[in-house]
Amino acid sequence: MLDKKLILGVFDDGDKLLSAVTKLRQKGVEIMDCFTPYPVHNLDRAMGIKRTNLTVGAFLCGLTGFLSGLLLQFYMMTNHLNTFKSWPMIIGGKPQNYGMVPSMVPVTFELTILFTAFGIGILFFYRAKMIHGKIAQVLDLRQTDDLLLVAIEQDHLHMDRSELDGILKSNGAIEIRERNLEGTSNAKNS
């Protein structure tokens, strides 16, 4: 991966960060990301983050679970799929036809939930690139303590650098830094 040159605006207050981000977006600046130690309301909207389509994944996972549950039970409990080799399994005196559908509800429900929960968890970690063993690239260690960062990619910046600094400063940035995304892990203690 190529190095990304980042400009970091460091803030000590969520409101200041939010107003800076809003101003920058009004000027057409693309925000790469923000890093905050606590949630800042409306920041996602101000950054122009698109809504995640993880929910579609959740639906598909759920649907898979739902169908697997039904298939599993039709396969094991009825002869609709021609699966009875010796004798039917009569448990609880249930009918052996579609009349047994109510008894399938709990298993189908549980499998739907199971597939959705695991599927969405895996998808989330995949999308967020949070893989076990990966060293987190912390841009500035203080982002985990009491400071908030806004990161802007230098290559995507269609604006005079001094103007950007001006906007950041006027909105209360206490510091403006530059940093390469690759290799930040080596300088964790900066």
Binding site: V21, T22, A46, P102, S103, P106
Partner: protein, 474 residues
């Protein structure tokens, strides 16, 4: 700040225009006309119908003398069969039940059907009012801010409570003889050992009696009305004087109401609806009724709000609030399905005769299609329609889902009331449609009329601006 924060809103007042009044009034009048047509139609056809039932009943139980066979007895036959199977000495019970039902001999089915319809709609529309009341109370008790803008709409819906009291009282004091066969049993002659004696009924005598029925139900509803009057009064004073005094008082009354509601609503649902099938019982029945009440109540609040917004009122109610209402409708449709299944699955699986009578009477040729439609309309369709985020923010989709939910639960009520009263001869005809239109017309008129008497927002409510600026994120 980046996001525009609203710090002040204008007070609004709904005007119930004469045009709207005429439209809603027309629904009411049309409903009345259809009801009358339905009655005329049923009276014309009742002679043939009762003859058919007579034949059918005699075929089933030809050892019983059926002097005044009515359709109601056809359904009683279900109890009889179940009681037979359940108890070794059940033959006596069943016969006793039969004798009790046949004894007082109301041969005219259309009267039973009319009262069943009145009961069904009285109860259904009462659920909206009491659920709106619960909505207000639960939001006070939970210190919820998002719903504050909807409080006046919910209050207007609770104004129907006194009307519901009157309609239910009419059913209890005038029509109950046609509907509740246990009343006939307990008010008739019976001694142990005789065929009239019914052991199952006797075991319920401490609860199923005139005291609980004629005093308990009205008292419960009167206390609800008192709570409603109190909370409404506090709300009015808050509008006039402001401050947090009335808000804090409302929280206390709301908490009290919720506790009382939990017990009283259960008792009411047992007495008014569950006792229609007096031999049967279900411990989750009141929760099931609550599920219906809350999901339909939320839907009604949502639909009124969307209607007002479409008329240009309530512009302060943002998509975010509507979105949350939609989530509530979605969630409580699932809750209903959960409770429905919790009741059905255990009874279906255990297959105990005294429990399964209830579903036995609902899985006949007459009711089975409705039974299935009910589940589809109350769970599957709302679930699939409201699942998408955009659907919950789109007024037209919400209205569609709301209409499906309301019709579905109407069917739900129909399935709770009809098999135990009218029995196999029940069908959805002019009478059912007309009666529902009558009640709906009156309900909408009453609510909108009460809404127009007050301002649309609780202007001095401490959480008003929180509701205005409510945000559910991206």
């Amino acid at each position: 700040m980046g996001h525009h924060i609203i710090t002040e809103i204008e007070s609004e007042k709904y005007e119930f225009t004469s045009k709207s009044r005429r439209i809603v009034g027309a629904v009411f009048v049309l409903g009345l006309i259809l009801t009358i047509l339905g009655i005329v139609q049923l009276r014309g056809g009742s002679a043939d119908a009762s003859h058919e039932a007579d034949t059918a009943a005699v075929e089933q139980h030809d050892d019983h003398a059926m002097d005044a066979a009515s359709h109601e007895e056809a359904s009683d036959a279900h109890y009889a069969d179940a009681a037979d199977a359940a108890h070794a000495e059940g033959g006596h019970d069943a016969e006793g039940d039969h004798a009790a039902a046949a004894g007082h001999g109301h041969g005219s089915t259309w009267v039973t059907r009319l009262w069943a319809n009145i009961l069904m709609n009285s109860y259904y529309f009462m659920l909206f009012a009491i659920a709106a009341m619960f909505f207000i109370a639960v939001n006070y008790a939970a210190n919820a801010g998002w719903s504050t803008l909807l409080k006046k709409v919910a209050e207007a819906i609770t104004s129907y409570l006194p009307v519901a009291f009157i309609t239910i009282a009419i059913v209890l004091f005038v029509g109950s003889g046609e509907l509740y066969h246990w009343l006939d049993y307990f008010n008739g002659e019976k001694t142990p050992g005789t065929p009239e004696y019914d052991a199952i009924m006797e075991s319920k005598a401490w609860f199923l009696n005139n005291g609980w029925f004629y005093v308990g139900v009205p008292v419960i509803m009167l206390i609800w009305i008192l709570f409603r009057w109190k909370i409404k009064g506090l709300s009015r004073k808050e509008d006039q004087e402001g401050g947090t005094t009335y808000f804090l008082k409302s929280i206390r009354f709301s908490a009290g109401f919720i506790v009382f509601f939990a017990f009283s609503f259960s008792i009411l649902s047992w007495l008014v609806l569950m006792s229609l099938d007096a031999h049967w019982f279900s411990t989750i029945y009141s929760v099931y009724n609550f599920a219906i009440a809350f999901v339909t109540g939320l839907t009604v609040i949502c639909m009124f709000t969307i209607y007002l917004k479409s008329k240009g009122y309530m512009s302060a109610v943002s998509d975010e609030v509507i979105h949350d209402l939609g989530k509530f409708m979605f969630a409580f449709s699932i809750f209903w399905a959960y409770i429905w299944l919790a009741q059905f699955l255990l009874i279906w699986y255990a297959n105990l005769p005294e429990e399964v009578v209830y579903y036995d009477a609902r899985l006949t040729d007459t009711f089975k299609p409705l039974f299935r439609t009910n589940i589809i309309m109350c769970f599957f369709l709302p679930f699939l329609i409201l699942m998408m985020r955009n659907a919950k923010r789109h007024p037209k989709v919400l209205m569609l889902a709301g209409a499906i939910i309301l019709l579905g639960h109407w069917l739900d009520m129909y399935l709770m009331v009809m098999p135990g009263t009218v029995g196999e001869s029940a069908s959805i005809g002019l009478l059912e449609i007309g009666m529902t239109m009558t009640f709906a017309g009156f309900f909408i008129y009453w609510v909108l009329h009460n809404l127009s008497k007050d301002q649309l927002y609780p202007m001095n409510h401490p959480y008003l601006l929180e509701s205005v600026n409510h945000d559910v994120g991206v």
